[in-house]
Symmetry: C2
Subunit: 350 residues, 2 copies
């Protein structure tokens, strides 16, 4: 939190999003991943809470028919996404936006493509009740179901205390606590900025320079390459597409979604999207809010044109892609959770 406050003081003008396009990257733009993400004061970490959160994250019983868990669309065994254009919810329903990665999401200053959740806690509450995602009918239905599972009742009491520990807020807190452990340090880039000058190839080094010179890092800066470390909930947004009179916008229908406007109904928010992280971006194809672009090299071309009105040469695209590949971090080994049982019965029906 200390770090967040300090950074805020240096970049107060960036708050609000629309104004930032084209600003020169601050000197601190390229930073190694910190060891710890910001932890909200009202949700301190503990091993027992993280373990509970992991169980909830992997538990398909948080969905109406027991087929979709958080992990179904944000796969911790992989890229933290489902690598699909858009995700598939209960009953094979689909929406219009692609699942963002859960890895390093703890560093994002707002959640969802439109930033409609301020924190990981707020985010976790959404998909469980979304009729095209996990489709539970109400918070009460979620609490009732988890209350019918003895292992959850016990753990919520142990972790949160009190007579009424199994609440929707506490479900979200446990999931968010687990998600704050999902960090990928030690990418070649991180090793490079920490002093290992051999960690990046010549190609990747050229790409890094180019990304700054061309202007990509005006938005893709900060520890997560997703904007500065604003206070949680402030969010960092950019208009996408900024330049819409080009073939890419048509081909990939990039202006069909009005982004943050759909949340705020404020005209200034039309086509504003949360700036996505570049960390592990090489692993999270397909790209953009609608998952319409299949490969990273094409995504780089599209961004240069739609955001900076520039056409990159193929060797420039290649160099930038090499740099983006250097942002793939080390994925920490995970133990699998053991989901608490319901002996002699099942709590998911038809």
């Amino acid at each position: 939190m200390k770090n967040t406050k300090k950074t805020v003081r240096t970049v107060p003008l960036l708050i609000g999003g629309a104004l930032v396009i084209g600003l020169a990257s601050p000197a601190s733009a390229l930073e190694a991943l910190p060891k710890q993400p910001p932890i909200p004061k009202d949700n301190p970490m503990s091993a027992a809470k993280v373990e509970l959160g992991k169980q909830l994250y992997f538990d398909p019983r948080l969905s109406l028919n027991g087929t979709v868990s958080c992990n179904s669309c944000h796969d911790v065994s992989g890229s933290g996404t489902d690598n699909r254009p858009v995700s598939v919810g209960v009953g094979a329903k689909t929406g219009g936006r692609s699942a963002p990665t859960v890895w390093n999401a703890a560093f994002m200053t707002s959640q969802f493509w439109d930033g409609r959740a301020a924190t990981l806690e707020d985010q976790a509450k959404g998909p469980i009740l979304n009729p095209i995602e996990m489709a539970m009918p109400s918070e009460k239905a979620v609490i009732d179901r988890l209350s019918s599972i003895p292992g959850y009742r016990e753990q919520f009491t142990k972790v949160f205390g009190g007579a009424n520990a199994l609440t929707y807020d506490n479900i979200a807190k446990a999931i968010a606590a687990y998600e704050r452990t999902l960090l990928t340090p030690d990418s070649p880039f991180d090793r490079y900025v920490k002093g290992d000058k051999k960690a990046l190839s010549a190609e990747a080094q050229r790409g890094m320079k180019l990304a700054q010179e061309v202007g990509c890092t005006a938005c893709h800066n900060g520890v997560n390459f997703a904007g500065p470390a604003l206070p949680m909930g402030q969010g960092f947004y950019a208009k996408f597409p900024t330049f819409s009179d080009n073939e890419y916008v048509k081909k990939y229908q990039l202006d069909a979604d009005e982004g943050r406007y759909e949340v705020t109904k404020n005209d200034a928010d039309k086509h504003m999207f949360r700036v996505p992280t570049w960390r592990n971006v090489a692993l999270t194809a397909p790209y953009f809010h609608n998952g319409s672009v299949k490969t990273l090299d094409e995504a780089v071309r599209v961004m240069a044109k739609t955001q900076l009105n520039k056409e990159l040469k193929e060797n420039e695209v290649k160099d930038i892609v090499a740099f983006l590949n250097s942002l793939t971090g080390e994925f920490p080994k995970q133990t699998m959770p053991r989901l608490p049982a319901t002996p002699n019965m099942s709590v998911v029906g038809e």
Copy 2:
């Protein structure tokens, strides 16, 4: 394999299935879970093969649209099933049979409810291509997709050797090797038969005796309580329902499915089903091939009536359920696999 052969010599008359109903349990009926399952000579175990198999088991890219993995329906974090009446495949398609548990499946002498696969290797090949499950269009499509993932290409070569290591057979071998590690030893029952007489409650001990006296263990015997250790592929079947003129058969539509007959078209196989394991049965609700019975106590009542034409008293049901609960084993800690990446692109589409 040695153990299997020995057992076969002692129970040759049981081969064939239909004849076994009503046979007294052999003296060896109640056995602790061995440390190792039978390992086929043509698929020896190795750490690298098991690790590859685990990745494949958890990888939704084995399904048409990247949404369904083996683990989706046979959840290793839980009971090894999805605890649903029937599973949900790609496009929310459903079939007519409930997913059997993967835990201790290595001890089963045939696979699927109708025994249509002789081995775990054979079984693994089915759901990937089943249009209502993982829905891949052909073996070639599966091989092509996995071949586009560098980490799989490398591992198949390392594990199986040769120029053409990534074959459908080898995919199945790796998955089966992983599945052979999914054993749950040290249930209260196992500790009891190994000499810890306090491991079972008085209730469970009464239930154990009753299950033998009533006749349940005529079929539910052997290390997996799923019949004797026949040679792999022989399978151990029973007619279900045997007595069909009762309310349960109507209520739960237990005679709608013709079982093994649908595979063999042999009249003697009508309504013959593989005898399911009792190990961890307390965790695998809902019950029976169609998942129609929601609780274990009701499943016990149904089985007594449909298989033995007996009506149990409620205290007898309770005792048998207590015994069945004592068959819940220790689930070994699992590390999560890391799925090999496809940098800069995705291999799952719409």
